[in-house]
């Protein structure tokens, strides 16, 4: 399969890259690892006239402990996150989810920034970052802004990014003591995309859940917080009965945009979301100690 023709730029600095995006605003797409964009271009679902490859820019691939939290450069690959001792110890669900994206070859190329910017409805990373919280740093030629992750995913394959912005960094907050995390997904055996996936970050203090962030992917049009589930968890002792009752509401926020395709019906996706919500929350509670 051959993509449409395009003009190609491989800038070596962010200033050059953002200048190109401004100059060709609306026509140009950013090429990061390419493992979402190139397949879409081969299917002619995307036909950008210009690609700005940010793979030649130094300094966009790092995992750094900054103050309280951790900053991840946008070109950091799944493999780098899966094997990072910082990610493994501070955000185990991000390391685990990264190790389960697609396969070894894809994990060598795909990036956290690309995954977030693409916002695939079945992507793993958008749900995981949503459950952790934090923000996306986006830069234009003239300025830089931080977009809270809760406002980042807007719609199917659509984010709050402007078409002259490049994601440079993802900032993750420090997790409170007593926080456990887990990601549980039911994947398509060929592509390893999530038919449904649930990310849970749960804080337990004095035997009671003081904070919970739960995010669902695969079921609806974008990664979405399961706020009803979170509300049931907060303030309670997380017994199996409470977890089950909370998980029953895990697909409530996506029920208007449920996916239905050759892989699973909408009804099945709802059920599997509930099943994996139980698994993710139970594992997060166990990890909270």
């Amino acid at each position: 399969m051959v993509t449409s023709s395009f003009d190609y730029f491989a800038p070596t600095t962010l200033d050059e890259a953002t200048s190109l995006l401004s100059r060709y605003r609306g026509e140009a797409k950013v090429l990061a690892g390419g493992h979402s964009l190139i397949p879409m271009m081969k299917l002619r679902l995307a036909e950008p006239g210009i690609l700005v490859d940010i793979g030649q820019i130094d300094g966009l691939s790092y995992i750094r402990e900054d103050g309280d939290g951790v900053s991840i450069g946008s070109m950091t690959t799944y493999r780098e996150m899966a094997t990072s001792s910082v990610i493994q110890s501070r955000y185990p669900l991000l390391a685990d989810a990264s190790s389960k994206v697609a396969d070894l070859q894809v994990r060598n190329r795909g990036t956290i920034g690309g995954s977030l910017a693409h916002s695939d409805p079945a992507g793993d990373i958008p749900a995981v970052v949503l459950a952790i919280g934090g923000s996306v740093v986006a830069r234009t030629r003239r300025s830089s802004r931080e977009i809270a992750i809760d406002r980042f995913q807007v719609d199917l394959l659509t984010t709050a990014l402007h078409d002259n912005e490049i994601i440079t960094e993802i900032k993750l907050p420090s997790l409170a003591a007593g926080t456990g995390t887990a990601y549980s997904k039911f994947h398509n055996p060929a592509s390893h995309y999530a038919i449904t996936g649930v990310a849970a970050v749960v804080t337990i203090s004095g035997g009671v859940c003081t904070e919970a962030r739960v995010a669902v992917t695969g079921a609806g049009d974008k990664a979405t917080r399961a706020r009803r589930t979170e509300r049931i968890l907060r303030g309670k002792e997380l017994t199996p009965a409470v977890i089950r009752r909370a998980a029953e509401r895990a697909a409530a926020e996506v029920e208007d945009t449920l996916n239905e395709d050759i892989h699973a019906t909408a009804e099945y996706r709802v059920h599997m979301t509930q099943v994996h919500a139980v698994k993710a929350i139970e594992a997060a509670v166990a990890a909270a100690g």
């Binding site: 993509t3 697609a102 070894l104 190329r109």
Partner: protein, 155 residues
Amino acid sequence: MSTEITVTVNGTAHTASVEPRLLLAHFLRDVLDLTGTHIGCDTSQCGACTVHLNGEAVKSCTVFAVQANGSEVTTVEGLADGDSYSHVQQGFWDEHGLQCGFCTPGMIMTAEALLKQNPNPSEEEIRAGLAGNYCRCTGYQNIVNAIGAAAKAGR
């Protein structure tokens, strides 16, 4: 618009003027005539097109040749040293890790990368490492045996 690129493939630098949309797999096969790299599904799933880009296994059907500008690529043709096969190649020979052979170049390139990351994989780790490579003939048994034999030979 054509772009001039220089890619070092199996130790030899090649300079060519290519269309930006030319995939690395097609650059290797059609421009350099290195037809050991196969194209199976063309949708980033089957892994037959796996090569090493700067030492890491990638699916060359999902990389534009221009992205490899200035990089080092190793294909299945670059593994043997004269008549002496790599451990993985010898493992596939000894354990008969193939039937039709179409997936074999990709299987071998993935296995080389897997053993570099993990020289002592368990059977389960070998199978997980092959998640991105499809074989439609063997049922994978002899492929897993071949990689196990290569790991043993490398110790």
